[in-house]
């Protein structure tokens, strides 16, 4: 019954190996990163109105690195609706404008939210103008 020493050694090693599995599970560090909560804002319908003091005017509005609205404007007033995230921290719009005239010209951008909030920003330039405009609810 005592068996051979080799068989006993194999049995002991096998038992220790079996014990290692639950021990490893009990003591291992959690490797899977915890789920991150995602900070995002629900998309809102944003109404943008552009008014320029001089035409023709070519402009491009970029939002988060992508072109949102590009236009060769022959009229001084244009408007469009967009579904975009509008967090409480506000949004940045990159605006590039080119006028045919080299005289001082201005472009006013009005952003309106569904709750009636309206924010105005103006860009000035001679021939060209570009800036990053921040629209934020006060």
């Amino acid at each position: 019954m005592r068996g051979s020493p080799l068989a006993q050694a194999i049995l002991v090693v096998a038992a220790l190996l079996l014990l290692l599995i639950p021990l490893h599970r009990l003591t291992q560090r959690e490797q899977r990163p915890p789920e991150l909560s995602v900070v995002s804002a629900a998309p809102k319908q944003v109404h943008l109105a552009v008014r320029t003091t001089a035409v023709p005017c070519r402009f491009q509005i970029t939002f988060l690195g992508k072109t949102l609205w590009a236009e060769d404007a022959g009229m001084p007033e244009l408007a469009k609706d967009f579904n975009i995230d509008f967090p409480k921290e506000g949004i940045d719009l990159v605006v590039d404008a080119t006028w045919e005239t080299k005289a001082l010209a201005a472009m006013e951008i009005t952003l309106s939210l569904p709750d009636g909030t309206t924010i105005h920003k103006t860009l000035w330039g001679q021939g060209t103008a570009d800036d990053v405009l921040t629209f934020k609810e006060e």
């Binding site: 991150l36 909560s37 940045d92 990159v94 570009d130 990053v132 921040t134």
Partner: protein, 299 residues
């Protein structure tokens, strides 16, 4: 015989004119890598700049050495970061310098952001002023004008040169600021949460709409408390912060541990305390590297 005489005359003339040229230059000793660049750009050939703090060196940990003190004493103008950055050696430095050496603490002539009063700590102007003004391009523009004025006071004959140097450098800074605004605009404003090793980016945050959560305080010698690190991990999880940033001069151990516990990733290494090797060899390069690293990791 005539040839030898002519050679001697040439040598004497060469030594005379080269020495005269050196004497006309303002000798500047700078205790800031950013100020060294500004001084060189504004001063051009009219100045000789010795940078006592080297690129990549942590200015919070800098110790004044006898060699550096000798270099400062041999200069005409010493440029300091100011706002408490040199507080550990400032008294010794001022006491040891000859009276003819002008000392300009550039940062002290720029409006400060402060820390401490809003945390219920006792106000201590010397230690609660945020010294990291160079992380704002607008503040660096002001620093450029302070350096221009210091050179003009010392050497009014070359005032036009200093004005031209400053104007050219300010144009570079303006273009840089325009690029930074556009790059930062790629990142939603509600994701502009910057977690860094120490609290060096408040000026940057103010300019570009970021919120700062740092592991250490305004200086790099303050070990973070366990409660602070625990709260920071909770904040990272709550806000869904995607990345934590290392600094080129600091040990990343705590930052790595925070990413492990919070699920955020390491977003890369940024230059917090001035210029450094690699992209950060110039101010514009440093700023572009930092902004690209931050925006691309948090997108």
């Amino acid at each position: 015989m005539g040839g030898r005489f002519a050679f001697r005359v040439f040598c004497v003339c060469f030594l005379f004119f080269s020495t005269a040229k050196l004497q006309a230059q303002i000798k500047v000793a700078s205790f800031s890598t950013v100020l060294s660049e500004i001084a060189q750009k504004v001063g051009g050939k009219n100045v000789v700049v010795t940078s006592l703090i080297k690129p990549g060196q942590d200015p919070h940990e800098y110790q004044l050495t006898p060699g550096d003190l000798s270099a400062a004493a041999a200069s005409d103008l010493v440029l300091l970061s100011g706002k408490g950055m040199e507080v550990s050696y400032l008294t010794n430095l001022r006491d040891a310098l000859p009276k003819r050496v002008q000392v300009v603490a550039v940062g002290d002539q720029i409006p400060s952001l402060t820390k401490g009063a809003d945390e219920g700590k006792e106000a201590d102007k010397e230690t609660t002023q945020d010294p990291h003004w160079w992380n704002s391009i607008a503040e660096t523009e002001k620093a450029t004008m302070v350096v221009r004025d210091a050179f003009t006071r010392l050497d009014g004959q070359h005032a036009a040169d200093y004005q031209a140097g400053a104007t050219a450098y300010l144009a570079v800074l303006k273009e840089l600021d325009s690029w930074v605004k556009r790059k930062v605009a790629e990142l939603p404003r509600n994701r502009r949460i910057l977690v860094t090793s120490h609290d060096a980016f408040q000026y940057f945050a103010k300019d570009y709409g970021f919120q700062i959560d740092s592991i250490e305080g305004l200086t790099t010698d303050q070990e973070p408390s366990v409660s602070h690190v625990t709260a920071l991990i909770a904040e990272i999880k709550k806000q869904g912060v995607k990345a934590v940033f290392l600094e080129n001069t600091l040990n990343p151990k705590v930052s790595v541990e925070i990413t492990r516990e919070s699920g955020a990733k390491i977003g890369g290494s940024v230059y917090a305390d001035g210029l450094g090797p690699g992209d950060g060899e110039t101010y514009a390069g440093m700023f572009r590297h930092n902004v690209t690293t931050i925006v691309d990791a948090l997108k």
